[in-house]
C-alpha cells in the first residue's frame, strides 16, 4: 500500500511548465530514490511532496489523505544545509528548534542531545553551526529532522554538498538510522551510484517538463557495504543502464 503518493503532479512557474503529470507511489518503510539531471525539477517535485510548494494541478496524498500544507508526518531536508541552519543558535538549539514549539524547551533540548549522539555529534551541542565542517553541519540538519520523529523523510540531495569520503560516511549513518527507525524515505539525487547504493527502488525523472518515466527495482541485498556492494555485477549493470538512460535524453 502506498504511504506517500504523488498523483499527476503538474507545475508551471510563471506559465512555463516544468513538470507534467508526474506520478509516483512510495510504500511505507520504502527507500525511494528519484534520479534526474541537474535542473530537471527534483527539488520542485520534493517540495510539492512536502507540502511546501503548491502544485499547479494534481494531488499529494499521505496515508490516503490529500495534503495542501506541510503534513506532520513528513520532514524535508534541504539541499543546502548552510541556508536552513540558524547561525545564531547553537547546534543543540538548532536541533531543538524542530520540537520546542510542541514539547517545550527542556524536553526539546534533551531530545536534541539524544539525536546528536545518534549522528555522532555528542559534545558539539554548544558549538555554533559555522564552527563545524560541512559534513558535520549536514549531520546537524539530519539530527534536526530526526528529532521531529517523522514517518517520512524527504531528502533533497543532502549528501551532494560534502566531499566524497564524508558522503560515504553519511550514507552508512543514514542507512543505519533508516533501518532502525523504519522510515519511509524519498531521496532526490543526480548521483547514480548513490541512488543504487541506498534505495529499494529508483524513479527516473525525464527532462523538463519532467515526469517519472520509469521505475527500477534495485534488489541488492541488505545490509549493504560501501565497497563490496558497489562491486556486485547487479550494481554495475544497473549503473550502466541508468547512466545510458540519463545520457541518452534529447537535448532541450
Amino acid at each position: 500500500m502506498s504511504f506517500l503518493s504523488l498523483d499527476a503532479i503538474n507545475k508551471s512557474f510563471a506559465g512555463v511548465p516544468v513538470m507534467r503529470d508526474a506520478t509516483l507511489a512510495v510504500r511505507e518503510g520504502e527507500f525511494m530514490a528519484v534520479l534526474g539531471p541537474s535542473g530537471c525539477g527534483k527539488s520542485t517535485l520534493l517540495q510539492i511532496a512536502a507540502g511546501l510548494l503548491p502544485p499547479s494541478a494534481g494531488t499529494v496524498r499521505i496515508a490516503g489523505r490529500a495534503i495542501t500544507a506541510p503534513p506532520p508526518e513528513a520532514v524535508y531536508v534541504f539541499q543546502q544545509y548552510t541556508r536552513s541552519l540558524l547561525p545564531w543558535r547553537s547546534v543543540r538549539d538548532n536541533v531543538a528548534f524542530a520540537t520546542e514549539h510542541r514539547l517545550g524547551k527542556r524536553r526539546a533540548r534533551a531530545i536534541a542531545e539524544e539525536t546528536l549522539a545518534q549522528v555522532g555529534l555528542s559534545g558539539f551541542g554548544d558549538h555554533f553551526p559555522w564552527q563545524l565542517s560541512g559534513g558535520m553541519q549536514q549531520r546537524v540538519a539530519i539530527a534536526r529532522a530526526l528529532a521531529a520523529e517523522p514517518a517520512i523523510l524527504l531528502l533533497d540531495e543532502p549528501f551532494s554538498a560534502v566531499d566524497a569520503l564524508t558522503r560515504l560516511d553519511l550514507h552508512a549513518l543514514f542507512l543505519d538510522i533508516w533501518s532502525r527507525r523504519k522510515l519511509t524515505v524519498m531521496l532526490v539525487t543526480h548521483d547514480v551510484e548513490e541512488a543504487i547504493y541506498l534505495a529499494d527502488r529508483i524513479a527516473l525523472l525525464t527532462y523538463r517538463p519532467s515526469s517519472i518515466s520509469e521505475i527500477f527495482e534495485v534488489g541488492l541485498p541488505r545490509p549493504r557495504d560501501p565497497i563490496t556492494t558497489r562491486a556486485l555485477p547487479q550494481f554495475l549493470e544497473l549503473r550502466q543502464t541508468l547512466l545510458q538512460k540519463l545520457l541518452a535524453r534529447p537535448d532541450a
Binding site: 506541510p70 520532514v75 534541504f78 528548534f97
Partner: protein, 258 residues
C-alpha cells in the same frame, strides 16, 4: 603593528589640533572674546559638571532621546516586520510612509508644539519620528534578506507563522535592524538637542541657546565638547553591544562598516 601606528597617528592629529586651538587663543592669533583657550573650556566644563547643573541637563536630554529611540525603534521594527510579511499592510501604509519620509523632522516641530506642547511629549515624539524611518527601512530590507530555506524549514517542522516571525525572521534580520538603529542613534541625539533649542526650557539644547545669548563662549564650547564626547561614547557603546548581539554575523565574515 602598522594599524596601531596608524591609530596613533590619528590620535596625534587630534592632539595637534587641540594644541593649535590652545596656542591660537593664548597668543591672540584669533583676536576674539569668543575664542577662549581649550584649557579654559575644559575648566568651565569641569566647573559646570561639579555644580551638578550640566549632568542634570544632559541626563534630561539623554532620557528624552532614549524614550524616543525606544518608541520610534519599536514602532519601526513592528511595522517593518508587518510590511515585509503581510502584503496588505505594505499596500496600505507604503504611500503614507513614502510621503512622510522626506519631510525634514525639524520642520514638524512647530506643528507638533501646537498639539503636544513644549515639553517632554513633543520632544520624545520628534525623536521617535526621526528614529522610525531608518529603522523601518532597514527592517524591511532585513526581512527580504532572510533565507527562503530557513522559512521553509520552519514550515516543514509545523512551526506557526507568528513563531516563525519571532524566531526565524526577527533574529535573521537583526543585523540589518541594528544597522538602522546605529544611524538612528546619531540622528536621535541631533534631533533631541535641536528640539530643545527650538522650543521649551529643557535640556542641553536650551542651555546652549541661553549661553549664546549671555555671550558665555567658554560654556558654549564646553557644551559642544560634551555633546561630541557623548555622541562618540554612545556610538562606541552601541558597537560593543552589537558585537555581542550578532556575534554570529561577524563570525560568518559579514562586515559592519564601523
Amino acid at each position: 603593528m602598522t594599524s596601531r601606528l596608524r591609530n596613533a597617528s590619528g590620535f596625534a592629529l587630534v592632539l595637534a589640533l587641540l594644541l593649535l586651538w590652545e596656542v591660537s587663543a593664548r597668543l591672540g592669533w584669533v583676536a576674539s572674546p569668543n575664542w577662549p583657550p581649550f584649557t579654559a573650556v575644559v575648566a568651565a566644563l569641569a566647573r559646570d559638571v561639579m555644580t551638578g547643573e550640566i549632568p542634570l541637563l544632559v541626563g534630561g536630554t539623554l532620557w528624552r532621546m532614549a524614550a524616543g529611540l525606544f518608541a520610534g525603534g519599536v514602532a519601526g521594527v513592528v511595522l517593518g516586520l508587518a510590511f515585509a510579511l503581510l502584503p496588505f499592510v505594505a499596500r496600505l501604509f507604503a504611500p503614507i510612509v513614502e510621503l512622510l519620509r522626506p519631510i525634514p523632522v525639524p520642520a514638524v516641530i512647530p506643528p507638533l508644539v501646537l498639539f503636544l506642547g513644549l515639553d517632554d511629549t513633543m520632544k520624545v515624539t520628534v525623536v521617535a519620528l526621526t528614529v522610525f524611518f531608518p529603522v523601518l527601512t532597514n527592517t524591511v530590507q532585513g526581512v527580504r534578506a532572510v533565507e527562503a530555506d530557513a522559512l521553509a524549514m520552519g514550515r516543514t517542522f509545523g512551526i506557526g507563522a507568528l513563531r516563525r516571525a519571532l524566531f526565524i525572521v526577527l533574529p535573521a534580520s537583526l543585523p540589518y535592524i541594528l544597522a538602522g538603529f546605529r544611524i538612528a542613534l546619531a540622528l536621535a541625539l541631533v534631533v533631541a538637542v535641536v528640539a530643545e533649542m527650538i522650543a521649551g526650557e529643557q535640556g542641553v539644547g536650551h542651555y546652549l541657546v541661553m549661553m549664546q545669548f549671555a555671550g558665555r563662549a567658554e560654556e558654549i564650547y564646553a557644551t559642544v565638547l560634551l555633546l561630541g564626547m557623548l555622541g562618540y561614547a554612545l556610538n562606541r557603546g552601541f558597537l560593543l553591544a552589537e558585537r555581542r548581539m550578532i556575534h554570529w554575523w561577524f563570525a560568518l565574515g559579514r562586515q559592519s562598516d564601523a
